[in-house]
């Protein structure tokens, strides 16, 4: 018979048993695994690197103000960051390299394994293609988010719709997908068939790229600012409800006339979602600071972290799926070893 002590241990959230939290004292804007470290891009302009399961930390001063946006770059060896100081930097545990040093806020950055990267400031997107060519593209308004597709198309969420930029040819192809209002996040499906944007009107809007056919997925109580594709590309997870909302994309018509699957319901809003890179499992972060892992096939939920009132801002697995790192608005960084928990 298990001892009472062991039974009590089972109810502890995973981070209390197999992880650690660090108080960083400033807003954690983004957390990714960079060159084996859990790296946090912070509101004070620093990037802090933590080696999982070790006491080793490195702090790299990168920006003069807050880091506003960040993306993994250079085969996960660097962090690409944009700040309110007008700088775009590439940051590794070895130091920071400034790519550009302007005056306007950098609102969005994105990068692609080919070496292409992009950033947006004011009404302009700057795109650096893998072949080294730089281009400027005028937007309808400020960009809220940018993301490269697997094949290297750049999707930009902006005012009045989504812009998709193809970089395969010498002259970039620019396609606009209009939908009135503000767009907050954007994701292109792994098979390059659909582009999905999150709208300020608490909905998702999806376009099929083959024929521009569009569909509206509403019913969210909040704004679905966080989007994540499953490893097999069949599901899109979204925040913005009191559960994680999963839309099926395996069919010809994507989610058209399909109902969404909802998992990990609590009484508070889901603000961040991230699929595990291998398993059919997601991390789900809430506005009250709770973080859970939920399995797609049976809906089983395991608590990673108890709520403390400070919203989860970002959470991501490392490439192997062994570690999960997360950050909160009030400056907590957490790292959990999931191999220990299995």
């Amino acid at each position: 018979m298990p001892s009472l002590k062991a039974a009590a241990r089972q109810t502890l959230p995973l981070v209390k048993r197999y992880g650690s939290e660090h108080a960083l004292g400033t807003h954690v804007n983004a957390v990714r695994f960079v060159g084996g470290y859990a790296a946090a891009a912070l509101g004070d302009g620093m990037v802090r690197f933590f080696l999982p399961n070790a006491a080793m930390t490195i702090a790299i001063p990168a920006h003069k103000g807050a880091i506003l946006c960040a993306s993994l770059a250079t085969n996960n060896k660097e962090f690409l960051t944009g700040g309110d100081d007008g700088r775009v930097c590439r940051i590794s545990p070895d130091g920071a390299k400034t790519i550009t040093d302007g005056s306007g806020w950098i609102d969005a950055v994105a990068s692609h394994p080919s070496g292409a990267y992009a950033f947006a400031t004011r009404r302009t997107a700057f795109v650096h293609a893998a072949d080294g060519e730089d281009r400027e593209i005028t937007l309808n308004g400020s960009a809220a988010a940018m993301a490269f597709s697997l094949a290297g198309q750049l999707a930009i969420a902006e005012r009045g719709g989504v812009t998709l930029i193809g970089l395969a040819n010498e002259t970039p192809s620019i396609r606009r997908f209009p939908h009135e209002g503000l767009h907050l996040a954007v994701a292109v499906s792994a098979d390059e068939r659909f582009v999905v944007s999150s709208t300020y009107d608490c909905a998702l809007h999806t376009w099929r790229l083959s024929d521009d056919f569009d569909m509206h997925m509403s019913g969210y109580v909040g704004r679905p600012r966080s989007l994540s594709w499953s490893a097999d590309g069949r599901w899109l997870a979204s925040s913005g409800a009191t559960s994680v909302v999963l839309w099926p994309f395996q069919d010809e018509d994507g989610p058209l006339r399909r109902t969404a699957t909802t998992l990990a319901r609590r009484s508070t809003l889901v603000v961040h979602v991230s699929w595990h890179p291998r398993k059919s499992m997601l991390s789900v972060g809430y506005a009250d600071g709770a973080l859970v892992l939920v399995q797609k096939h049976d809906g089983l939920v395991r608590a990673v972290r108890d709520p403390d009132g400070s919203a989860i801002t970002d959470a991501n697995f490392d490439e192997s799926g062994r570690f999960l790192a997360y950050g909160t608005e009030q400056g907590t960084l957490g790292i959990v070893d999931l191999r220990e928990s299995a």
Binding site: T26, A66, D84, W105, Y200, G222, A287, P307, G309
Partner: protein, 323 residues
Amino acid sequence: MITAARQIPVTLLTGYLGAGKTTLLNRILSEKHGKRYAVVVNEFGEVGIDSDLVIDADEEVVQMNNGCVCCNVRGDLIRILGGLMKRAERFDGILLETTGLADPAPVAQTFFIDDDIRRRTKLDAIVTVVDAHHFLEQVDSAPEAREQIAFADIGLVNKCDLASADQLAKVEARIRSINPFAKLHNVERCHVDITDILDRGAFDLDRILEAEPGFLEHVHSHGHDDKITSLSLVSRQPLAPARFLDWIQDVTQRFGPDLLRMKGVVAMQDDDDRFVVQAVHMLVEGNHQRAWRKNEPRHSRVVLIGRNLPGDVLRQGFEACQA
């Protein structure tokens, strides 16, 4: 431990061209109050702004797709406030200056609509600066000048030294004909005690109309030929809750595009709490506020400010809410 994030107050500084908004901004920034402000301005003017943290906005008004034609938000503000919250520990408040021709409604509506913004920030008050010397011409020729007055929680009648006593009296009467609840201050070169303009809680339902103690007693004249007028509805009898809530929904839906602001304190039947309500266009919110005090008359009063509001229809509808 559960900790709630601090809500950072945002003060909107508005006023017609040349009224003295930037003077006010610098006045606030140069006072020795020990507080740090982030400043959001529309364009860097010739007058420098004395702050380390100045952000350039571009007044990007975006319509919401919620079926409400008058529901606009400020896209740039959503982005800027989101960015500022990433370093919220570095300042105590946000001062937002609009252009002289801006409509304050999309700013106010952004705070009504956006829960993410409301969780971390709050609209503290709309401060409208008025040029005492030129106001009477401007208010007749420029709809923007009238709207800025209609939205004001605090009115600063500036350049008083350039206006005669008679002119000042006319300016005040004209402001009152549009907006009965704004707190007015006569100033020169925007010299005002900053406690009169900051931390007013003008949009807190908890403090609504408490910040303007004269509100319930205020008697004003209307019937001016202005298109923007105010209407004050009073009931000495308690109101039936369900009927009142239906009525206020109906009013904001029907007259929303023309209804600029509404504030009300209501005595509901069989309810010992004051019920408070406010609206900007079609966006309305209400709540129980606090218990009525012993010596406080349990009267209901709703003030509406808007364009061409049908006084008779509104008065009849309000009276029909009496229990």
